[in-house]
């Protein structure tokens, strides 16, 4: 049986092997961000013009770069899990390091973006935002709330992947560790999902 078939057949087992705590975390993510995005669309429906103007403050170029970094980090975390399953420890560690690297690039890019935004006064409660209509402030608040929460979750993800690197280097390639890798990949990919939605909603739809 090929590894692909094996993976496909094990998906159900892997999903059931993933701890209920992880599913609960993903469920909480879905509910919290779902609520925030729904709020965004309600306010956008009420003030489409102001939301469009406020969204022009965000750089689609930096947003695109963020999404590509997250998608690439998702690729590497998945390749890491596949390498672990194939007992290729060195390759798995390489891909885990690559994931951390792309995650750090994402954070650096976000920091640069926030700095650029603050230069133009685009941050909550700034003097610049006080001069603008309330709806634009709402956009700004929602953007920073969603992005800030996302960044916080990415930092947690980096810690989780970092811990995975340590455990892999210690040679704990056992069934339990494989399930941990699956959980780490699931969590990290959920952050990419969030990144894709944040980009589409705030940068492109606005």
């Amino acid at each position: 049986m090929s590894i692909t078939e094996n993976q496909a057949n094990n998906v159900g087992e892997n999903n059931s092997g993933i701890s209920s705590g992880m599913w609960l975390l993903l469920f909480l993510e879905l509910v919290v961000f779902g609520g925030l995005f729904t709020s965004f669309f309600v306010f956008r429906m009420l003030h489409p013009g102001d939301f469009l103007i406020a969204s022009k403050q965000l750089s689609p170029l930096l947003g695109t770069l963020n999404v590509i970094l997250l998608l690439t980090s998702s690729l590497t975390i998945v390749l890491s899990a596949a390498s672990l399953e194939g007992k290729r420890t060195s390759l798995a560690v390489f891909f885990q390091f690559a994931t951390v690297l792309f995650g750090l690039f994402f954070l650096i890019n976000k920091f640069y973006e926030f700095t650029a935004n603050s230069y133009f006064g685009f941050y909550p409660d700034s003097a610049e935002m006080a001069k603008r209509p309330d709806a634009q402030s709402v956009f700004c608040w929602l953007y920073y709330m969603v992005s800030g929460l996302h960044i916080f979750l990415v930092i947690i993800g980096l810690v989780v992947v970092g811990w995975k690197i340590v455990s892999t280097l210690k040679g704990r390639i056992i069934e339990e560790s494989d399930r941990d890798a699956e959980s780490a990949a699931l969590y990290w990919n959920s952050l990419t999902v969030l990144g894709v939605i944040i980009f589409s909603v705030f940068y492109l739809i606005g």
Binding site: S2, I3, T4, Q7, V11, G12, N14, N15, W23, L26, F27, L30, V31, G34, F37, T38, F41, V42, R44, M45, P60, T64, V67, I68, L71, T72, S74, L75, V78, L79, A82, S83, G86, R88, E182, A185, L186, N189, S190, T192, V193, V196, I197, F199, S200, V201, Y203, L204, I205
Partner: protein, 90 residues
Amino acid sequence: MYSKNNSTTSVYLNQLFVWFGLVILSGLSVVLAGLDLGKALPFIVLVIAAVQVYVIARAFMNIRPSDKIAKVFIGISGLILAVSLLLVVA
């Protein structure tokens, strides 16, 4: 051993193709956002984002729609997407 390595390589290649497809979809969203599509734009961008999320869930997260827990997630996500689509066309 050769067969195992070969299969692992094909897994890597498959995931690479998925990644490439996701990047292309992101690029498509950016290009479409630059065009004057009026009220249709938010709808199209949301649909593309939903497709991306589905691909990530299936290919990267190994989530099967037939799993019980996946049904809960798909149900809630679908509801949020439906409400969002209604609000952008309203």
